[in-house]
C-alpha cells in the first residue's frame, strides 16, 4: 500500500507492506540513523518523533504513519550536533550505537520540560539503554545542555 509521510519536513510517498514497521521503512528510504537495538521494545534506539512525540519506530506499523510528521535525527541536525559536542566533551559517548535514539529523546525532553530535576531527567530517559557509558557522563552532558543544576 502507499502512504504519504512528511519526513524531516519533506513530503515522501512510500510503498509499504501491511506488516512493515516504521524503522524498516525509514531505513529502506535511506534514513539510516534509525536503527534497532532489541526485539523487546526496551532499548529506545529506534526512537523517532511522530507528530513531535518520541515513539518506538520498531513497534509502529508503517501504515499508521500515513499523513503524519516524522522527525529523525537528520531533521534536527543542528540541535543534535550541539548536544553531541557536549556529550563528547563529557566523555559520554563511546561506541555511539545508542546515540540516535538517545539524542532524539533528550531533544524531546528539552521541548517538553522546563528546568527538570535530575530525577525527572533520569525518569524521562529510562527507555534509552546504553551498554557503554554507565549513564553518569550522559547525565552531566544533559544538565549542561539544559543549563540545569
Amino acid at each position: 500500500m502507499q502512504i504519504e509521510v512528511i519526513v524531516n519536513l519533506k513530503k515522501i510517498k512510500m510503498e509499504v507492506d501491511a506488516n512493515e514497521f516504521l524503522a524498516d521503512t525509514l531505513r529502506k528510504y535511506g534514513i539510516l540513523s534509525v536503527r534497532k537495538g532489541c526485539d523487546t521494545t526496551c532499548c529506545g534506539l529506534c526512537t523517532v518523533w511522530i507528530d513531535d512525540k518520541p515513539t518506538l519506530s520498531c513497534t509502529t506499523l508503517s501504515f499508521r504513519a500515513n499523513g503524519r510528521k516524522i522527525t529523525t535525527i537528520e531533521g534536527v541536525h543542528k540541535e543534535a550536533d550541539e548536544f553531541a559536542q557536549i556529550l563528547v566533551a563529557e566523555g559520554a559517548e563511546q561506541c555511539g550505537f545508542c546515540s540516535p535514539g538517545f539524542i532524539m529523546t533528550v531533544l524531546a525532553m528539552k521541548n517538553e520540560l522546563t528546568n527538570p530535576t535530575e530525577e525527572t531527567i533520569v525518569h524521562y530517559l529510562t527507555g534509552n539503554l546504553c551498554r557503554c557509558t554507565g549513564y553518569m557522563g550522559q547525565l552531566r552532558a544533559i544538565k549542561t545542555y539544559l543549563g540545569v543544576q
Binding site: 521494545t41 526496551c42 526512537t47 512525540k53 518506538l56 513497534t59 509502529t60 499508521r64 525518569h123 529510562t126
Partner: protein
Amino acid sequence: MFTLLNLVQPDTIEAAYKALVEKRNNIVLGGCAFLRMGSQRIGTAVDLSRLNLNYIVEQNEYVEVGATTTFRDIETNPLLNRYFNGVLPEALSQIIGIQFRNTVMIGATIYSKYGFSDLLTALLALDTEIELYKGGRMSLKSFLESSFEKDILTRIFIKKNERKANYQHLRNSCSDYPILNVAVSKLNDQWKIVVGARPQRAIIVQKASEELANLELNSKNIDRVATMAANEITFGTNMRGTADYRKCICKVLVKRAIMEVLQCK
C-alpha cells in the same frame, strides 16, 4: 514477530466488529508492543485508527477515555493528574520509557487482562467501568472476573468522585515488570485494597478492605489489616519472585499505601 495477512481500517465500530469476528485468527491492533513479542499468524488485522477513540474527556459524572488513547496521553493529562491524587499517571509512569508509553494503548491493555499490569491495579481501586462493543458496559471488576466472546473494548469510564488513592509497586529494576503492585483508595468510609502482579491478575481484597472501615487507623491496626490482606489472597511463584516473598512484600506495600491515603488531601 507476527505475520499479518490482511489489514482493514474500518470507519465505523460496526464494521470493525464485523471484520473481527469474521474469522478466528482476525484480531484488533493496539499499539502492537505485546503482539510483536509473539509469532501469531494474523488473518485480518483490524486497525481502529479511524474510529476517533483517542481522547480523554470530562463528562458530568465520569472521565471518559477512548480505547486507543496511549499511556503517555493518560500520564500527561491534566485532568487525570488532578483526580484521585494522580494515581493513574503514577502507576503508568513506571512502565519502560516515554517512547514505549507513547506507543501502547489502554484498550489493548485492559482487554488483555494482564496479571502484571500496573494500569489494571490502579483502575480497579477507582470506580471504573468499561464498554465492550458487543458485551456492553460493565464494571471493570465484572469484566476481569468473567470471560467474554471476542469483542472490541471501546471506552472506559472513571467515576469522578472524591476518592483518595495511592499506588505502590516493587520491581527488581526500574522498567522491569512489577513483582507486586498495590493500589489503595478511600471514598468517605469505604476503602478498597487492590493487589496485582501476584503474579495473577489484580483483585480487590474484600475482607481487609471492609475491616479498614471499622477501625481506628493507628499504626497497630494498619499493620493488622495489611497482614490480613496478605493472608486473604493467594500468590504464585515466577522468575521474579516466590509466593512467600510476594506475601511478605504485600504486607509492606498495603501498609504504605494505606498510610499514604491517610495523608492525601
